[in-house]
């Protein structure tokens, strides 16, 4: 038994490894290969050079960041107080969680369709606002920057919230009591004890939310103005691949997307490392 231990462990790992190789490593390597070749297979860095010299494509990086970064900050920023107030459970917690999960299960397209009709010029939201005389003419919630942001908020907030809730409710309530007994007010306890312990969770949920928002595609097409203000980087990649049938150029854009995401994730992880110096044990003491 002892001798077969290692190979036994390998066989247990095998299915996961096969998945990772087939669904992640191979496509990634293939994409990298495509991005560095011409259509005939010859090596080139022209695909990247083209992207950086094409002002319209280059602008998509900025456009995407102006959508993804604020959305991520809002989602995580809202998730922190929400998860804090619900850390010991709250009345109607199940109902709240249910309504938060619904947008995830419905999928982006259905949520976008819903928003188009409810928030459109003749939707009930605008009718309500006009009836209440908040606005004179229908307010444009959709087919612009705001529409994409709202949709990403609906989709991303539940992830951030549920993830942080798991983190905060895992912190021993005795730590809060201890802090209070040492003379800390509620606010001081939050900033000196809970927040530092939440930092790893905040960092992870920020990264996930950012990656989701940065690779936005359906919302940007359905709820935004894909030709202009919300022409995000994934739209550029899509157009090169399926309108111009240049997979090499599209692959280069995908690789750049990954690189930008990695840069942002690294920044967040560096922040996490500086803020949270303690051991990885949360609150168990």
């Amino acid at each position: 038994m002892k001798g077969s231990g290692r190979s036994g462990a390998f066989f247990l790992l095998a299915p996961a490894l096969v998945f990772i190789v087939l669904l992640f490593l191979y496509p990634f390597a293939y994409g990298l290969f495509l991005s560095l070749t011409k259509a005939d297979g010859a090596f080139t860095i022209g695909n990247y050079a083209r992207f950086f010299s094409d002002a319209r494509d280059l602008r998509t990086v900025w456009t995407t960041l102006t959508i993804a970064v604020p959305v991520t900050f809002v989602n995580v920023g809202l998730a922190i107080p929400f998860s804090y107030y619900m850390r010991r459970g709250a009345k109607g917690e199940k109902i709240i969680t249910f309504f938060l999960i619904v947008p995830i299960t419905l999928g982006t397209v259905l949520v976008s369709e819903g928003m188009l009709s409810y928030m459109g010029p003749n939707g009930w939201l605008n009718q309500l606002l006009m009836a209440l005389r908040v606005v004179k003419a229908p307010f444009r919630f959709t087919h612009n920057y705001l529409g994409v942001v709202i949709s990403l908020g609906l989709q991303g907030f539940p992830y951030a919230f549920l993830m942080l809730l798991g983190y905060v409710s895992g912190i021993s309530p005795d730590l809060e009591k201890a802090s209070q007994m040492l003379g800390a007010s509620k606010a001081q306890t939050f900033w000196k004890v809970l927040f530092p312990l939440m930092v790893p969770g905040i960092a992870i949920s920020f990264c996930l939310n950012f990656v989701m928002a940065f690779s936005v595609f359906p919302s940007a097409v359905l709820l935004g103005q894909p030709s202009g203000p919300t022409r995000v980087i994934s739209i550029a990649a899509y157009q090169w691949a399926f309108e111009k049938f240049n997979f090499n150029a599209a692959s280069a854009i995908s690789m750049l997307m990954a690189a930008i995401e990695l840069v942002i994730i690294s920044i967040v992880l560096v922040w996490r490392g500086r803020t949270y110096k303690g051991a990885s044990i949360v609150g168990k003491g």
Binding site: K177, S179, L182, G183, A184, V193, L197, G278, I281, G285
Partner: protein, 396 residues
């Protein structure tokens, strides 16, 4: 620290919905006193402690420090402004802070200067023998060391009242004894007023000036360790501090003296003389006299260590048959059935006798058990009200 003479808790009650966790709890603490709340799990001792800190709001009652009201129906000083310190069973150290930062936490909140903080943290760590640990994180330390940090974190603030909630329960037996000594030494030195919560009678006896025994949220007895140990107020306290042999008995006769009550009792046909240390005016005395007059059954309480094997002049002699013998080194723990030895062993089992024997005993042996009259206590049969679910424990 604001100086004070005494802390008074008056008729403190805490209800969670239908359940009363703490009932009419009244107690006074003198400055510098070490008071222990002792009781089984679920008796409300931790709740009582948390009510005094303010972490759990009380339903009714009041808490005073001298004339300063800190909790009643109108005033409620929040926990962070009561200047109490609390040590938790699971230490509750901040895992993201070093030992130094943990101990300095409260000092920084009080906006003291850097030099003074440094000095006081150093002193506190020295007091708990943790010099050189200042830069470590809690996760890098053993349980005993972590608990010392937790204690240092409290005493560095010179709290008016130090509350310890089962601080030794998470430690192994050896460390528990070590840290118990240290707590005692620390209290001797600092004389900080302390409330200590435990379910361990040894800890309570070793540390306390006074012990408060609790059951179902109500105080059963308040007294010095020797008093609780040798003169429990009722069968519950007796059981909790190590009395066993709660046999059903009837009182045949009694004579009242000024400081003792002499009674002849009968347990399963065998007669016993008891000299009960219940002076005139004692509630227990009144209850026993009442039981005698109305012919009610009573319960005995005798420590296993007070029952010897053999016949001794001037002592009661009981006959019993050993049914289970547990060798424990210097003595054996013997379970026996009360029965005269001619009895059929297959017959109805008698009352169980728990005794400790220094001489070897074999299962099935017929024993003469000797009990001195003044090692027997007698209590009225516990009432079986709705709050006395534990009462049935005595029937075994």
């Amino acid at each position: 620290m604001k100086d004070f003479k005494r802390i008074s808790v008056r008729r403190m009650t805490k209800r969670f919905g239908e359940k009363t966790a703490v009932r009419d709890f009244s107690l006074e603490f003198g400055k510098g006193e070490f008071v222990t709340f002792l009781g089984p799990s679920g008796c409300g001792k931790s709740t009582a402690l948390n009510c005094i800190t303010g972490l759990i709001p009380i339903t009714s009652g009041e808490i005073f420090i001298d004339d300063e009201c800190i909790d009643d129906s109108r005033v409620k000083v929040p926990p962070e402004r009561r200047e109490f310190g609390m040590v938790f069973q699971n230490y509750a150290l901040f895992p993201h802070l070093t030992v130094r930062e943990n101990v300095a936490f409260g000092l920084k909140l009080r906006r003291l200067g850097r030099v003074e903080i440094e000095r006081r943290v150093g002193e506190a760590l020295k007091l708990v023998h943790l010099e050189g640990y200042a830069a470590k994180y809690p996760a890098q330390m053993s349980g005993g060391e972590q608990q010392r940090v937790a204690i240092a974190r409290c005493i560095v603030l010179e709290p008016r009242l130090l509350l310890l909630d089962e601080p030794l329960s998470n430690l192994d037996a050896k460390l528990r004894v070590e840290l118990r000594y240290e707590l005692k030494a620390l209290h001797e030195r600092l004389k900080v007023t302390t409330i200590y919560v435990t379910h361990d009678q040894t800890e309570a006896l070793a540390l306390s000036d006074r012990i408060v025994v609790l059951k179902s949220g109500a105080i059963q007895q308040v007294g010095s360790p020797p008093m609780i140990f040798s003169n429990p107020a009722n069968l519950f306290v007796a059981d909790f501090v190590g009395f066993k042999n709660a046999w059903k008995a009837r009182i045949e006769s009694m004579s009242e003296k000024a400081d003792v009550l002499e009674a002849e009792i009968r347990v399963r046909g065998q007669a016993l003389k008891a000299r009960l240390p219940y002076p005139d005016g004692d509630r227990r005395r009144a209850a026993i006299v009442k039981a005698f007059l109305s012919g009610d059954t009573v319960r005995t309480a005798i420590r296993p260590e007070d029952i010897r094997v053999g016949s001794y002049p001037g002592m009661n002699s009981l006959r019993c048959i050993a049914s289970l013998v547990e060798y424990q080194g210097h003595a054996s723990q013997v379970s026996a059935a009360l029965a005269s030895c001619g009895d059929d062993a297959e017959g109805e089992p008698g009352e169980r006798v728990d005794l400790r024997s220094a001489i070897p005993v074999v299962e099935g042996d017929c024993l003469d058990a000797a009990i001195a009259p003044d090692s027997i206590l007698v209590f009225p049969e516990p009432s079986r009200g709705p709050e006395d679910d534990e009462a049935q424990e005595y029937s075994t």
